[in-house]
């Protein structure tokens, strides 16, 4: 009997951790791409909120979660486009315009929610989809193969982002634009176009990350439902050193620690809850401290590019 309970807890911790990691993973992968091209987008929180609202609202009126997710990706892309316009074309200070975008997303999502939805409402949302055969493996099946489709999608994106970034010509251009935009420009590759593409894709990923919270996790929307997740995703990009695998490790470490502390609390293990709530942050900081090696952030990160002017 005791054995069974322990197994249940193990499954619970891992399965919850994976579910919690999904929005971080999606948003951080998108942000990594933007930063690799030399633009840091602090507006993630705002994009996620707009994605969360759009995903919720479209599902609410159409009864189709898939349509909701598609709309969230679209709106996320548009928010990314806005960020690209402000930071690449207008060459605005990236930190400031990102924070502006965050506030815009928070304000607009709250306003639309009040205008178009009458208070707290429920949507059908996404249900877990058990992968045939794999979900029947004892222990592992329930941990890894009993989630909603966005979870699988997010983890699939890790090798795909790695492949695109390090094994394709476009990926090479992205990395080069983030390091030495002048050199890329002389070779006839448009710095502006690459940065626009990266920010739009990054926005789409964040929009989907936001929609995960409403369409898959809670089946509702409320003001400021992201509660700072966008900023944690940005921190995870630094933690993961601009690599998809590093971001995967960071998201999982943070979320598993979070899920573990939830179980510690629920099972009534005698431990101050204030410390338990801090655990994911502490674990992440310790992991950053003990991991060594030089960090190579994209050299042109944060610098607008203008042809003929030394950056």
């Amino acid at each position: 009997m005791a054995d069974f309970i322990d197994q249940g807890i193990l499954i619970g911790v891992v399965a919850t951790g994976i579910r919690l990691a999904t929005p971080y993973l999606l948003a951080a992968l998108g942000e990594m791409l933007s930063q690799r091209s030399g633009v840091f987008n602090l507006g993630l929180e705002g994009i996620m909120l707009m994605g969360a609202f759009t995903g919720f609202y479209v599902t609410f009126i159409s009864q189709s979660p898939m349509l909701g997710l598609a709309a969230a990706i679209l709106v996320g892309g548009l928010m990314g486009l806005l960020m690209a316009f402000v930071s690449v074309t207008l060459q605005a200070e990236q930190g400031i315009s990102g924070i502006g975008l965050s506030m815009l997303g928070w304000g607009l999502s709250g306003l639309f929610f009040r205008l178009y939805v009458d208070g707290i409402q429920t949507i059908a949302g996404l249900k877990p989809w058990k992968i045939p055969f794999l979900s029947e493996i004892p222990l592992l099946g329930l941990m890894f193969f009993n989630h909603n489709v966005i979870v699988y999608f997010a983890f699939l994106m890790v090798p795909i982002f790695w492949f695109v970034l390090f094994r394709t010509t476009w990926g090479l251009s992205v990395r080069a634009v983030g390091m030495t935009p002048q050199a890329v420009d002389t070779l006839g590759v448009s710095v502006t176009r690459i940065r626009y593409q990266c920010l739009i894709i990054g926005g789409m990923m964040s929009g989907l990350a936001g929609a995960t919270l409403t369409v898959a996790n809670t089946h509702m929307f409320a003001d400021n439902i992201t509660a700072g997740r966008g900023f944690i995703a940005i921190a995870l990009v630094y933690f993961g050193r601009w690599s998809p695998w590093g971001i995967l490790a960071g998201s999982l470490l943070f979320s598993m620690a979070d899920s573990f502390q939830l179980w510690v609390q629920v099972l009534g293990i005698n431990f101050p809850y204030e410390l338990a709530v801090m655990l994911p942050y502490i674990v992440t900081i310790i992991a950053l401290m003990v991991s060594y090696g030089r960090v190579w952030p994209p050299a042109a990160l944060g610098k607008p590019y203008e042809r003929g002017v030394r950056g």
């Binding site: 619970g12 060459q91 709250g110 306003l111 429920t122 996790n217 809670t218 509660a227 009534g268």
Partner: protein, 343 residues
């Protein structure tokens, strides 16, 4: 091209400011409205409400908003009402409170335990303005502290949960161990213990008042660990209620307001605060020149605290359990049963 770069930020700024103006809507943020004729202003009572979340959060803030709205609609002389939402950070709230005070508002309600220090600081500078905040008990010459006795309803609902739980495990989704939540959670735990029957209470905190997603995850974890009765306070609770909804045989017990609309098949009963009575008392006291200094409780005894069953699910509560609950309520109201949180 160069010129366009210079003009575009201006256009963007214009669009953004238009959107922001639109955001104001009918809720009137802190925008000054001092243009109103002075003569009319002296007759109309001016009330400002500062809220940590939004007027449609289906919890703490909405319950107060609805009460103020009702008082406004019933008032003969009329009430001018201004509301600031999303003031989760006491510093932001402080700025709004100060602005309302300088604009000549009569009563400023800062609806949260976290506003205690900003209110006591600002109230000294505006001795003619009445301030009210809660949950709290520290008053000042012009500060009312309102104090829902959350433990009373919680105790009763603890008995309800313990008597009805089949798994003998009940779960609390806590925000932060502070203010209202301490009273509520302790009262609930004491109620469960008092009911006997060896029922376990498990408690987990999100560390925030508005972590809706995390509250939902805690509720799921509680259920995975076997709980079949759940409860919890603050505005994030709606996330937990949504997680409970659609799980047959598992129920939620609400506090702050009647939350059965959020999940009609999961919310079994609610502890409801009757803010109208408290506000009416504050307004009457001010009219009688008492600007503050009173610690106002909301309890079963004064009728400002109520237990509401969800009519759709009321039949599920066995008659003997209901009898125990009604008796406990009466004992608490009569003072023969005291819920001592210090134990």
């Amino acid at each position: 091209m160069k010129n366009i770069r210079k003009v575009l930020p201006l256009i963007l700024a214009l669009i953004l400011s238009l959107i922001l103006v639109g955001c104001g809507g009918d809720t009137k943020p802190a925008a000054p409205k001092a243009e109103a004729p002075k003569a009319a202003a002296t007759q109309k009572l001016k009330i400002a409400l500062v809220l940590p979340s939004t007027i449609d959060d289906m919890a703490w803030a909405q319950s107060m908003y609805e009460a103020v709205k009702k008082i406004q609609s019933q008032s003969k002389d009329g009430i001018e009402l201004a509301i600031s939402e999303r003031m989760g950070k006491p510093v932001d709230a402080g700025a709004a409170i100060r602005q309302y005070a300088t604009q000549g508002f009569d009563i400023i309600i800062a609806h949260g335990a976290q506003y205690q220090s900003v209110v006591s600081e600002i109230a000294k500078e505006f001795p003619k303005v009445t301030f009210a905040y809660g949950t709290g008990f520290q008053t000042g010459p012009n500060i009312f502290a309102y104090d829902p006795q959350a433990q009373e309803g919680a105790y009763v609902m603890g008995i309800l949960a313990a008597k009805m739980s089949k798994s003998k495990i009940v779960g609390i989704v806590g925000p932060v161990e502070a203010g209202d939540a301490i009273k509520y959670n302790k009262g609930f735990q004491m109620g469960v213990a008092a009911a006997g029957g060896d029922v376990k209470t498990r408690i987990a905190y999100t560390g925030s008042f508005n972590e809706i997603v995390k509250a939902g995850e805690i509720a799921k974890t509680h259920m995975d660990a076997g709980a079949d009765f759940l409860t919890g306070s603050s505005q994030q609770a709606v996330g937990a209620i949504k997680a409970v909804a659609g799980k047959p045989g598992i129920y939620w017990l609400s506090t702050d307001m009647d939350q059965s609309k959020v999940a009609p098949d999961a919310v079994l009963a609610s502890q409801v605060y009757n803010w109208e009575k408290v506000l009416t008392k504050i307004i009457d006291l001010r009219k009688a020149n008492t600007l503050g200094g009173q610690h106002l409780t909301l309890s079963f005894a004064d009728g400002m605290l109520e237990l509401k069953y969800n009519p759709k699910l009321e039949a599920k509560i066995p008659a003997d359990v209901k009898a125990v609950i009604e008796k406990t309520k009466k004992d608490i109201a009569a003072g023969t049963l005291k819920i001592d949180l210090k134990k």
